[in-house]
């Protein structure tokens, strides 16, 4: 698992550098790396849930702090992957109002993620 994470980390960093050199200018939104990074995080979250399902758990689901944290990450990155993909396009072509609306949606999703992470920390405390 740690090899997979290292591999994702290294190849993603490489991709991000290549992206701003060859594909997207540093002065525009980096929509390609953000989408790829959201995909990688979603995949890792799903692997986590798969492993959790396969393992033998004696305590209820909600008592595991990592369940809450991973759910938060999955909700945020899963829901905003479309937003990330169209980020540059929106910035360049959509009206300011549309950008504000998506900014609000994004902020709401971030809030939900942090709420889940907070609940996770709360369970990790005990």
């Amino acid at each position: 698992m740690s090899i997979l994470i290292t591999l994702i980390g290294v190849s993603f960093s490489l991709f991000a550098v290549l992206n701003f050199i060859f594909l997207q200018d540093v002065h525009s939104f980096n929509s390609y790396p953000r989408t790829v990074d959201a995909l990688a995080i979603i995949a890792l979250c799903l692997i986590y849930f798969y492993n959790y399902n396969e393992s033998y758990n004696q305590t209820p689901w909600h008592r595991h702090s990592s369940n809450w944290i991973v759910s938060g990450l999955l909700i945020y990155f899963g829901s905003s992957i479309m937003h990330f993909a169209f980020l540059d396009l929106l910035y360049k072509h959509a009206t300011l109002n549309v950008n504000y609306i998506f900014g609000d949606i994004h902020a709401t999703l971030v809030m939900i993620m942090y709420l889940f992470i907070a609940i996770g920390f709360n369970y990790a405390k005990t």
């Binding site: 758990n57 689901w61 909700i75 479309m82």
Partner: protein, 261 residues
């Protein structure tokens, strides 16, 4: 490229909303499923625990029953015979005129009875044939003994060299007791005339099938398991045997278990 307008806003919010709902439903279903699994597991644990307690109770109760039976046997047979002997000696001392020969014959008779009683009790405690002839020999002896009255015929179909030679004594005694209990149950409840016991050997287990042509379990007993059945189960558990599904097509009683080698 056309300038994106409010339709992009609509499509993008739609996709964000649907992915959000999908993820929320995924998490909810996952949590529900996990909790259900946990609940089922807890139930299974509880059933296992109560079954184990029931088996333990049966072991204790049957041990006590066995003790009281031995006590009763000793008291009723050996105790009575010894009192009888004492009385005979007392009578002889009071009036030696009755003749020594008669006294000696009477005493010998009583002592022989005591010896027979003690032998019976000790044979009941541990089956005598197992040490001498092995499990198969002891079982044949038991079946001959049980079918002596002529009311019931017992056929043994032993195709397993393992049960004939390979069983260690502890397992042999348990297996012997299980079959003894099954035969006892048939005689007591089943109104059967034929019993068939067969042993089939496989690569790593021996399958034992016990059948009779009686009225079957459903009509003979209430669904609650009797003490005998619990006894059988705990004995089989001790020798690492697994109870198998009984024969469904068979009309009388059938009991199947597999003994791992």
């Amino acid at each position: 490229m056309p300038k994106p307008n409010d339709s992009l806003l609509f499509l993008l919010s739609l996709s964000i909303g649907s992915v959000f709902m999908l993820i929320i439903s995924f998490i909810l279903i996952f949590v529900r499923n996990q909790n259900r699994l946990l609940k089922k597991h807890a139930e299974l644990q509880e059933t296992k625990l109560s079954h184990q307690q029931e088996l333990l109770r049966t072991v204790i109760v049957s041990q006590e029953e066995e003790r009281s039976r031995i006590g009763q046997d000793l008291h009723d047979d050996v105790g009575t015979a010894l009192s009888n002997l004492r009385l005979t000696i007392e009578l002889f001392n009071q009036s030696p005129a009755t003749g020594f020969d008669k006294f000696s014959a009477g005493c010998k008779l009583i002592i022989d009875k005591i010896i027979t009683d003690v032998r019976h009790i000790s044979h009941n405690l541990s089956p005598p044939g197992i040490a001498q002839y092995g499990f198969a020999g002891a079982l044949e002896e038991l079946c001959e003994l049980m079918s002596q009255t002529g009311a019931i015929g017992i056929t043994i179909n032993n195709n397993s060299p393992y049960t004939t030679d390979g069983l260690v004594t502890v397992n042999a005694i348990s297996l012997y007791r299980v079959i003894e209990e099954l035969i006892n149950n048939t005689i007591k409840h089943a109104q059967a005339t034929e019993i068939m016991i067969s042993f089939a050997e496989y690569e790593n287990c021996v399958e034992v099938l016990y059948t009779d042509n009686g009225i079957g379990m459903a009509t003979a007993m209430n669904p609650a398991k009797g003490m005998g059945v619990h006894n059988i189960e705990s004995r089989l558990k001790v020798i690492n045997a697994t109870v198998l599904q009984p024969l469904l097509a068979h009309e009388g009683y059938s009991f199947r278990f597999s003994l791992s080698k």
